[in-house]
């Protein structure tokens, strides 16, 4: 009979070094191009809008407490700091909505072009979309400008 091979047994699996980026992988876009930054901004704006929602519900709810309470609230909201806040909410909404349409199209495989042979310099679908992306951002800027104009001149 063959003697059992005397192989040294590793008692301890060597540890590993986890390079998982965690949240840093979301919020730091480093040297990646525009779409990677739009991803961060879309997320931040979405979260910002959610945080704004309870405040918005509370403010509109004040109307139920009669015209006086409403007037009072409106007076507070016309202070510059709240107007500035409103502009921020508007900016977040306009960007999130318009970029959201770009993303919706993208997720459905539209406006990305067709697959092609990977000949250097390699084709990237999101680059084919750059003109659309730029046009949408200009549109968002125009909506925001119109909104700010409306807010400041009302």
């Amino acid at each position: 009979m063959v003697a059992e091979a005397q192989t040294p047994v590793r008692t301890q699996v060597p540890s590993r070094l986890s390079m998982r980026l965690g949240l840093r992988g979301w919020v730091y876009a480093g040297r990646y191009p525009a779409e990677r930054y739009l991803y961060i901004l879309h997320r931040l704006c979405g979260l910002g809008l959610i945080l704004y929602l309870p405040l918005h519900v509370w403010v509109t709810g004040r109307r139920l407490q009669g015209p006086e309470a409403w007037q009072q609230t409106m007076a507070i909201l016309s202070r510059p700091v709240f107007v500035a806040g409103e502009i921020l909410v508007l900016a977040a909404f306009v960007f999130h909505a318009i970029n959201g349409f770009r993303l919706l199209f993208g997720h459905l495989g539209c406006a990305l072009g067709r697959p092609e042979y990977p000949v250097y310099p390699y084709p990237v679908a999101l680059h084919r979309q750059r003109r659309l992306t730029t046009a949408l951002m200009v549109l968002a800027g125009a909506f925001l400008a119109a909104g700010v104009w409306g807010l400041l001149t009302k």
Binding site: M19, G22, E35, G106, C110, L112, A125
Partner: protein
């Protein structure tokens, strides 16, 4: 195509000295990455992999990294080089400037120094059933002829078939950075590579894996994977087309059938004009 004029990021003359800064890790003694620096003489056409070899051969034999083909086709040498996941053998040092910083691939476990554990990438790849799935078992088991496919049909997926499984896209993906479960750009793009193949009928079976929040719906179209990919696979495009396929079906209605056989003894008309092979001399 733009002419490549060299040195896009920084200028390093040949014969100059390169500072190679590596985030090292020895599982037997380190708890965290340990930076170490070497000076390397720059040779013509030197890649980051060449620089690592220069260190290993002349300065520190304990430096660990993984490579095989040294020509960008095996996908072994993925590393985090100057702020981006890249193939070390596919990146020339004169693109990078006088200081080259190298760390193990993000979003992976480092086994030692620059050697990442790719086992999870391969497991995810296998999970999406990366092969042709058909119902005609008899033809699959004992094939009679080839399945038909036109060059136009090939063009619909050939881009995705260039994947090396180098895992650079997973290192770039923000969803992978927080989720263990997400299948990731590599596997999802490969799922689409087979879904879009006209010989395949496996969308339904693959949907069981990819139609999930940790499948295609984990993708938020940040596009970083496609920027990192060294082969032009464009996984972000593959994932979105896979989403579309889940809603409206694959690009082809029914899987391609075997091409019909030529009649017995058939010769193409040109065959008569072709020169005959000389008679055998032995």
């Amino acid at each position: 195509m733009a002419e490549i004029t060299g040195n896009p990021e920084g200028s390093v003359p040949e014969g100059g000295i390169l500072t190679l800064r590596v985030a090292r890790y020895d599982p037997e003694r380190d708890r965290a990455a340990r930076p170490q620096e070497w000076k390397v003489k720059i040779l013509p056409g030197m890649t980051v992999l060449d620089a690592l070899f220069a260190v290993k051969e002349e300065q520190d034999g304990s430096l660990a990294f993984r490579c095989s083909c040294r020509m960008g086709v095996c996908g072994s040498c993925g590393m985090f080089i100057n702020g981006k996941p890249r193939l070390a053998c596919n990146t020339q040092v004169n693109e990078l400037g006088p200081v080259v910083e190298v760390a193990p691939l993000p979003n992976h476990d480092a086994i030692k120094d620059l050697v990442p554990d790719l086992a999870l990438t391969f497991r995810r790849h296998r999970a999406v059933l990366p092969y042709i799935i058909r119902n005609d078992v008899a033809e699959m088991e004992s094939p009679t002829r080839e399945f038909g496919q036109t060059p136009e049909e090939l063009a619909r997926y050939v881009q995705f078939s260039y994947c090396l499984k180098c895992s650079l896209c997973l290192a770039a993906c923000p969803t992978v950075s927080t989720s263990e479960q997400f299948l990731g750009p590599q596997a999802l793009a490969q799922a689409y590579r087979f879904v879009a193949d006209t010989r395949d009928a496996g969308l339904g079976e693959r949907a069981g894996v990819v139609d999930a929040s940790h499948g295609v719906f984990g993708c938020h179209l940040a596009g970083a994977c496609s920027e990192a990919c060294p082969k032009g696979v464009d996984p972000a495009l593959g994932i979105q087309l896979l989403k579309r396929s889940l809603f409206v079906g694959p690009p082809h209605r029914a899987p391609a059938q075997v091409v019909s056989a030529f009649p017995e003894g058939y010769r193409t008309p040109e065959a008569a004009e072709r020169p005959k092979a000389p008679p055998p001399s032995v």
